[in-house]
């Protein structure tokens, strides 16, 4: 008789573990969806701030046009082009705002300083959001690689989440010369 109890106990424990793991996976996927939405919102905030700076008359016309163009591309790009467009925007921002001395000079006008601070914060927020998102994704991937999870298809039909890889470096001038 004893072995029967043992078998039942083991089966119950396994069942609890599996349902717990499935629930964990499910919650993780839900959080990844939300963090992806946060990331999109932060990138929209960043390109919005760039458009504000570009249309403020703070910079020379050529620079303003290039910034506005890169920002609106990033806002309208779809699907697979999206990440590339955000990286391109980062490259343009870096070209314009890399030198702390240049940025310090621009900042001498108080309204410009406020717009630049907002842009700097938006750049940071976007970079933070991406790292948080990627951390959640990597955690889920680790969980899904476990043998039991794979064999028993505990993840159901949810697609394997992917990290977002793009260049979101905060331009050095914006990072160094805040006030």
């Amino acid at each position: 008789m004893e072995w029967l109890f043992i078998v039942i106990a083991v089966l119950v424990a396994l069942g609890v573990y599996l349902s717990w793991t499935a629930g964990r996976l499910d919650r993780r996927h839900a959080r990844i969806d939300k963090s992806r939405a946060v990331l999109e919102a932060e990138f929209l905030r960043r390109s919005g701030c760039v458009l504000d700076v570009a249309s403020s008359g703070l910079l020379d016309p050529a620079t303003s046009v290039i910034l506005a163009d890169a920002a609106s591309r990033a806002r309208t790009a779809s699907g697979s082009e999206r990440d590339q467009a955000e990286s391109d925007l980062t490259a343009v921002l870096t070209a314009v705002f890399d030198d702390p001395d240049d940025v310090a000079e621009l900042r001498s006008d108080p309204s410009a300083a406020a717009a630049l601070d907002e842009l700097a914060m938006a750049c940071r927020r976007a970079a933070h959001a991406r790292r948080f998102h990627n951390e959640l994704v990597l955690g889920a991937v680790r969980l899904r690689r476990k043998v039991l999870v794979r064999w028993l298809r505990l993840a159901g039909y949810a697609p394997m989440p992917e990290t977002v890889e793009l260049d979101d470096r905060v331009p050095h001038g914006l990072d160094a010369a805040r006030n």
């Binding site: 993780r28 959080r31 939300k34 946060v38 914060m121 933070h128 790292r131 948080f132 951390e135």
Partner: protein, 378 residues
Amino acid sequence: MKIGIACPYAWDIPGGVQIHIRDFAEELLRRGYSVSVIAPGDDDDDLPPYVTTVGRPVAIPYNGSVARVSFGPRVAARVRRWLVDGDFDVVHVHEPASMSLGMLATWWADVPVVATSHSAQRRSRAMSAAQGILQSAFEKLTAHIAVSEEARRTLVHHIGGDAVLIPNGLYVDRFAVPPRPQWRSPDGTLSFLGRLDEQRKGLQVLLEAWPTIHDAFPQARLLVAGRGDIEQIQQGIAPEHRDTVEFLGGVSDEDKAAMLASSDIYVAPHIGGESFGIVLAEAMAAGAPVLASDLEAFRAVLDDGRLGALVPVGDADALARRAIEMLGDPELRERYRQAASVGVRRYDWSNVTDEVLAVYEMAIAVGAGGRTFRLPRR
């Protein structure tokens, strides 16, 4: 927004993490947020109203040194009580890798958890043994912050997981104090701050360089602030240079700011073990041109030498040469002072708090990690 902060170390023992949490909590309160801090300590300690305690920490050997931490069933119950009563929107734990309140709060919280790692550590046996537990606790974090690149690297290499960089903060304007005439001198005043007997603070390097500096500028003087065996160190200085080195002992925050404001060069000859270098930021805020060892943490704060001078670590000759160059060139010092007064704003609590609040906002939008396991609420 209701914010709960878990401090791993006893509130009444001065330390970088405690000061960081105190200054940050007070900035949040000024902005009208509701803040509660939980920390090891007794109720009868003289505590600000926003601090809740969980009882005396115990000293145990952990991770190669003696750690004063809080754990055990009573502490766990208190942490859970605090979480339930606080009804927080977000919980912010500090040093989540230390086996203390940070980990307990992470474990029990069912709201989004943000963590900040401060220290840079070498891999230890304790950390290897605890890696599985740490990882499952870290999985619950919605956002992880590191105060320096080195602290971040500790996470990446030793625990697994990554963090965003948000530096330590300070109140820049509190360091804008007038210099004290009795600390000034016509040839220039140098200053040093740090425990005297702690090798890694590098006082020995500065004292090795001092005779050369003093010979070049006979009226220059050196202020040394920090606790330690003053007499023993004084005996080690050659008699003809001894009187120009003034030992101040431990200094109050006020005296520290005044000393930095009276300095023509603040020297940071550290030879290692610094994760962030808040003292450099303090010197910059007080208007003291900085001359520092080329440690990674210092290079970051000084923006690769744009905001202050860097010399090779532990090289007394280079230190002396550079100090002499700076003392002889008031324009160079003024340039450093100007650049630093702008650059140090990056570390002002007004900026750092904005950035942490942005992280809170994102963490709340993403939501809490599932509870590791559920117990009924009381």
